[in-house]
Each structure stands twice: as structure tokens, then as C-alpha cells.
């Protein structure tokens, strides 16, 4: 126990003495939380720049115009009067949607001839596209009902009758879990979980590769201490710090980004612990077997985007080919991002979450098992002829500053 504590204690000291590690472990999660929080803090799209090309200039067309102008989702861009101008605006992105009212709309309606209003939206960015399409439909539905009501009123129906006719079958659309379709509820937590994942891996990854590069790893393997103690001792500080970060991220997201985080705190904690255990010990394993930290860093970095995509967090799982889904099952991140959504957003209980927890536990146990039973003897190091970009070595000015600091400390001591 004392040995374990000793290793953990000094690992913690190492972290504190290494500025890069401090950044990775303490500052980066905060930084990412704030950054992504800022990006998604508006949470829902509104003020879609919309142009109304009114070629009719009639009462009806003005009615349509007010219907759109009164809707919060749109911001009317004035001064676009022709189709060509609208087209140019759409191309340069000053407009994201447009309504084109044809010249003889009112006339045609009056004559009971079919008339068509064109609603255009920019689908080159699908977030704009989907949302504009939805907003347009909402406004149009609204407008039709009011328009019908107005006509009925013109036909001499009483308001009560109109109400009855218009609402004879009322369709009540409710959105559960995320009633205003907020993007921060949706994307933010997933991104953050991945950030925690990556930063967690990094921190731990450095734990062994650093020692290997500085040759001090040899002291661990040359002493009689059992491997599980090394693994546990080295991973423990990171586990604690990562959990702290995890809690911090949750707190920031619910407090400042206004992400909906509800559901059982116990479940969130259990998910977090299992997830962090898996990644911490997995990181330890990676750092055991990767020859240098540059390579490990590169591969890990590149994995983040694919990991997020295959998790089925954004693009629903049922649309992803089976074999990719199976691969995704092997990664803790896919379980976690979906799990955290189920708990925090959908407030589900154990009855639905047990597969997630079970899977994460299995992964955690595997990671812990392999981390604790590593072979202490290393493969004989092979001195590569071209080991160019791996190592530290030639001193740079920044290093010199460090050296200066050390010397000052020494001179003060003596």
C-alpha cells in the first residue's frame, strides 16, 4: 500500500512539474468546454436570413410577408426584389432562405386557379437546410390556418364555428427530451466526452512513454515491485484528475452552456467512473507498448473524428452499415456518448441503461486486467538507424530557460 501511494504521489508531482501535462490535464478540458460551449451556446438557430421576393405586391403577398416577419426563426433581409438578386444572395451566403411570390398570385387565387409560392432554402449546409425547411413548414402551416380562418370569417362564420372547423382534428406535436431542438443539448456533451477521452488518454500516455524516453522506466522494471502496483500507482492520479475533469465538464455544461443534464447523478457517476477507468488503463497499455510518444500522439489525435462519427451519436446507428456498428461496439467512447445522452437528456434509468453499463464494465475490467498484468521485461530496445522525429535532444532556447531556472534554484540553495 505504501509503495502504491508512493508511486501515485510522485506521478502527481511529475504532472505538476511538467507544464505541458498541466495544460493537458487541467487546462485543456476547461478550455475545450468553454470553446465548444461558446460555439454551441446559442443552441438553436434563429434569425435565418430570409429574403422575400414579392413580385405580386398585393394584400395576400403582404400577408405572407408578415407571417414570415413575425416569426422569430427568420430575419427578413430587405431590398431584394428580383429573382436574380435573390440568386446572387443565396450564392454568396447573405441569404439562407427565400420566398418567391409570383406576379399574379392574388389574381389566380381569386380566380380559383392553382397558384404556387416558391420557398427556397440553402441546403449546402444541412444544418441550415434542415432547420430552414422546418421553419418554413411551421410558418406555412400557421399561415394556412390563419388564412383559412380569415376566409371562413369572410364567408360569414362565427369565430366559434371557425375554431371548430379549423381545429376539428388538432395535431399536437410535442418534442420530448429536448423540446426546443437545442443543438447544445444534442452535440455538446458528445464532443465533450470525446475531449475527455482524448485528453485522458494523452495524460496517461505520457506517463510511461515519458519515463521510457528519459530512461527512468528502467528503475521500475529493475525493482521487484509487482506490475499491478506500477499500473495502479501510475494510473491512480490520472484517474482522480480525469474524474475531477469529468465532473467539472458536467458542471460547466449545465451551469454555463445550459445543457440539459438531468437524470440520476448516481448513474452519471457510475458511467463516468467506468468510462474513465477504461480510458485511463487503456492509455496506460498504449503507452506501455508504443515505442515513442510522438507516434502515440499522432495516432490518437487522428482517431478522434472517426471515433465520434462511428459512435452513432450524430448519424443514427440504424443508418450505419452493420460491420461498422460492430467495430464501434469495441470502443468505450461509442457506449459512453450514447449512454450519457440517455441519462442526462432522456433521464432513463437502469432498466434501459444496463447494456451500456455492462459493456463499459466489461471494457473497464479488460483494460484493468491487461494493464495490471503487463510483462515487466521489455523487448530489447532496437536502436533504429533513423529515429529522426522521435526524440528530444538538441537544446533549444526554451530548454535553456529551464536550465537557467534550475541553476538559479541551485545557487539559492547553496
Amino acid at each position: 500500500m505504501k509503495q502504491l501511494w508512493n508511486i501515485a504521489h510522485y506521478e502527481f508531482l511529475h504532472v505538476l512539474k511538467d507544464p505541458i501535462l498541466i495544460i493537458i490535464v487541467f487546462i485543456a478540458p476547461l478550455f475545450y468546454a468553454c470553446l465548444f460551449g461558446a460555439v454551441y451556446c446559442s443552441a438553436i438557430l434563429y434569425d435565418v436570413p430570409l429574403a422575400i421576393v414579392d413580385q405580386d405586391n398585393s394584400v395576400l403577398s403582404r400577408e405572407i410577408k408578415t407571417a414570415f416577419a413575425n416569426d422569430d426563426s427568420f430575419r427578413i433581409i430587405e431590398g431584394i426584389d428580383s429573382y436574380e438578386e435573390m440568386e446572387a444572395g443565396m450564392k454568396t451566403g447573405t441569404l439562407r432562405a427565400a420566398i418567391v411570390i409570383p406576379r399574379d398570385l392574388e389574381l389566380r387565387i381569386y380566380q380559383h386557379r392553382p397558384a404556387q409560392v416558391l420557398a427556397v432554402y440553402d441546403a449546402s449546409n444541412l444544418i441550415w437546410g434542415f432547420n430552414s425547411r422546418k421553419f418554413i413548414r411551421e410558418v406555412v402551416n400557421d399561415f394556412s390556418i390563419r388564412h383559412t380562418a380569415a376566409r371562413l370569417a369572410g364567408e360569414g362564420f362565427s369565430p366559434r364555428e371557425i375554431e371548430n372547423i379549423v381545429n376539428s382534428v388538432e395535431c399536437n406535436v410535442t418534442a420530448w427530451y429536448n423540446p426546443n431542438y437545442s443543438y447544445s443539448n444534442y452535440l455538446f456533451m458528445g464532443l465533450m466526452m470525446l475531449a475527455v477521452h482524448q485528453l485522458g488518454l494523452f495524460g496517461v500516455c505520457l506517463a510511461v512513454t515519458r519515463e521510457k524516453e528519459r530512461q527512468s522506466w528502467i528503475h521500475y522494471i529493475a525493482s521487484a515491485i509487482p506490475s499491478w502496483k506500477i499500473a495502479l500507482g501510475k494510473a491512480l492520479p490520472y484517474l482522480i484528475m480525469n474524474f475531477f475533469n469529468y465532473a467539472l465538464v458536467l458542471w460547466i455544461s449545465s451551469r454555463f452552456v445550459q445543457v440539459k443534464i438531468e437524470g440520476s447523478v448516481g448513474l452519471l457517476a457510475v458511467l463516468g467512473i467506468l468510462y474513465l477507468m477504461t480510458i485511463t488503463f487503456a492509455g496506460f497499455i498504449i503507452s506501455l507498448y508504443s515505442s515513442n510518444s510522438l507516434q502515440a500522439t499522432r495516432y490518437l489525435m487522428l482517431l478522434s473524428l472517426p471515433l465520434f462519427m462511428i459512435s452513432g451519436y450524430t448519424w443514427p446507428r440504424s443508418y450505419i452499415p452493420e460491420f461498422i456498428n460492430y467495430i464501434a461496439l469495441l470502443f468505450p467512447s461509442s457506449w459512453m456518448v450514447l449512454g450519457i445522452r440517455m441519462v442526462s437528456l432522456k433521464e432513463l434509468g437502469l432498466d434501459v441503461l444496463w447494456p451500456t453499463i455492462l459493456a463499459l464494465s466489461i471494457l473497464a475490467v479488460l483494460a484493468v486486467y491487461f494493464a495490471m498484468n503487463f510483462k515487466k521485461e521489455r523487448k530489447a530496445p532496437y536502436i533504429d538507424g533513423v529515429n529522426i522525429n522521435g526524440g528530444i535532444s538538441y537544446p533549444r532556447k526554451i530548454n535553456r530557460l529551464q536550465a537557467l531556472r534550475q541553476q538559479i534554484r541551485v545557487s539559492r540553495l547553496s
Binding site: 508531482l13 511529475h14 522494471i221 525493482s223 521487484a224 515491485i225 521485461e377 530489447a380 532496437y382 541551485v410
Partner: protein, 238 residues
């Protein structure tokens, strides 16, 4: 009981890096109180051999028994060995005392042991220095102190006294004497033939083979080799 008497027993040790053979069938024994110097030039495999003996590296084939343990099967012998590496391997960002404390933790040694090695190596004045800022001699003393922490029966020292100030050298050699007298075994790697006299026996490592000489004989072999490269008519040769 005879097994216990032999500290190290190596037979047919082979180490290969892919196609290159570094150690090619090495066999020897080390007895208590004996100090063995492994002499070899750069790249001859001294470090490789020492690391294998210390249980740090895996090897290709052969059997190695250290303190009665087969080192492939048990870790127990590591409780009673100490290692000083050729490359600086202490924790650069920690101070001297923290280094000692930490390695004591790894080796399960107590505060008493730390005090003992501090006295022995006279590190008292620089306990709060960062390891990275130490002079070479002090650094080696610290390395040796760390290796001595668990009062080992067997030590592996790689280039311990090369290129360092004479006082540190003296101090370290003095520190090793009681260790040898109490029946400890010492395996050292060195590459300067001058040091051959410090050992009871010198193993000459070349082309993967180990040959044993008395220190004097080793020096003579060295002289002979040196001589063989000189041209007969050379002025300096006289």
C-alpha cells in the same frame, strides 16, 4: 546449498536484434565477493548483457539464473539487486531527495536506508537540488546511492566511474568495498582498460563472445592489440 553459493549462472545466452547477433552464446558464473568487469568497446553489448542480467530486457535464448532464480520465471531476485545505468536514468524533474525517496518506495526500502546511503555517498549538501542540475560525479553518486538503497547482494554497474571527478570515484569505490566484503557480487561494464585493476576478473566482450582474463592479462592483451596496429618504422613506437 551449492546453488545458493553461485550468484549468477549464465549458460548459452544469445541475444539477437533481428538479424544482428549481439551476444552469441555466453556462459559464466559469478561467486560471492567477486567483482567482474565486463570490458568492451562501444556497441560490443556490455549494456545489453547487464540489462539482461538485471531482468530488464528479454533475451533470445539461453538460461540465466540470478540468485537462484530463473529470471524468466520469477521476479524475486530483483529484491536483492541494484542497477546503475550508463545513460542517466534518474527522474530529471525531481530533486535528489525525491529521487531517493521514490526509488526507495519502488524497492520497498525504509527511511533508515535512505539515510544510510546519503551518508555513504555524502549527498547531504545537495538533497534539494534537482537531479538534472547535478554534476556528473554527484549524479553518479546519486545513481549508486539509489542502487544501494535496498542493500543488494548483487550490483550491476554500467560505466560507473568513467569520466568523473576523482573524489567521487574514490567515494564510490570506498562505498563498494564493504559490499564486496560482505559477500556481494559485482558486475561492471567498462570501456577504459585503465580500470581493469579494480576487478578480480575481467570479461572481454567482443563479437558476442566473452573471454575471461586476469586484470593483468587483459591489460597485456590491450597493449598487444595497440601495438599490432603500429607500423614498425614509426618514430613514436620506440
Amino acid at each position: 546449498m551449492d546453488e545458493q553459493q553461485v550468484l549468477i549462472e549464465v549458460s548459452d545466452l544469445v541475444q539477437k536484434f533481428f538479424l544482428k547477433t549481439v551476444l552469441n552464446g555466453i556462459s559464466f558464473r559469478l561467486f560471492p565477493g567477486e567483482s567482474l568487469g565486463i570490458f568492451g568497446l562501444r556497441g560490443s553489448g556490455k549494456t545489453t548483457l547487464l540489462h539482461i542480467l538485471a531482468g530488464v530486457d528479454r533475451f533470445t535464448s539461453g538460461t540465466v539464473q540470478v540468485l537462484g532464480c530463473n529470471i524468466c520465471k520469477s521476479q524475486r531476485f530483483k529484491q536483492a539487486t541494484g542497477l546503475v545505468t550508463q545513460e542517466p536514468s534518474l527522474f530529471q524533474d525531481l530533486t535528489v531527495l525525491e529521487n531517493l525517496d521514490f526509488i526507495a518506495g519502488l524497492k520497498n526500502a525504509g527511511p533508515a536506508d535512505i539515510e544510510r546511503v546519503i551518508d555513504q555517498m555524502e549527498l547531504k549538501d545537495c538533497l534539494r537540488y534537482p537531479a538534472a542540475a547535478l554534476d556528473a560525479g554527484l549524479y553518479q553518486r546519486l545513481s549508486l546511492a539509489c542502487a544501494l538503497l535496498n542493500a543488494p547482494r548483487l550490483m550491476f554497474l554500467d560505466e560507473l566511474i568513467k569520466d568523473i571527478d576523482l573524489y567521487s570515484r574514490h567515494l564510490m569505490l570506498q562505498g563498494l568495498e564493504p559490499f564486496l566484503n560482505s559477500g556481494g557480487g559485482l558486475v561492471c561494464g567498462f570501456s577504459n582498460i585503465e580500470f581493469a585493476d579494480y576487478f578480480d576478473r575481467v570479461g572481454w566482450l567482443e563479437k558476442g563472445q566473452l573471454e575471461f582474463y586476469e586484470p593483468q592479462a587483459a591489460r597485456e592483451k590491450w597493449e598487444l592489440l595497440l601495438y599490432s596496429f603500429k607500423k614498425p618504422g614509426d618514430v613514436k613506437n620506440v
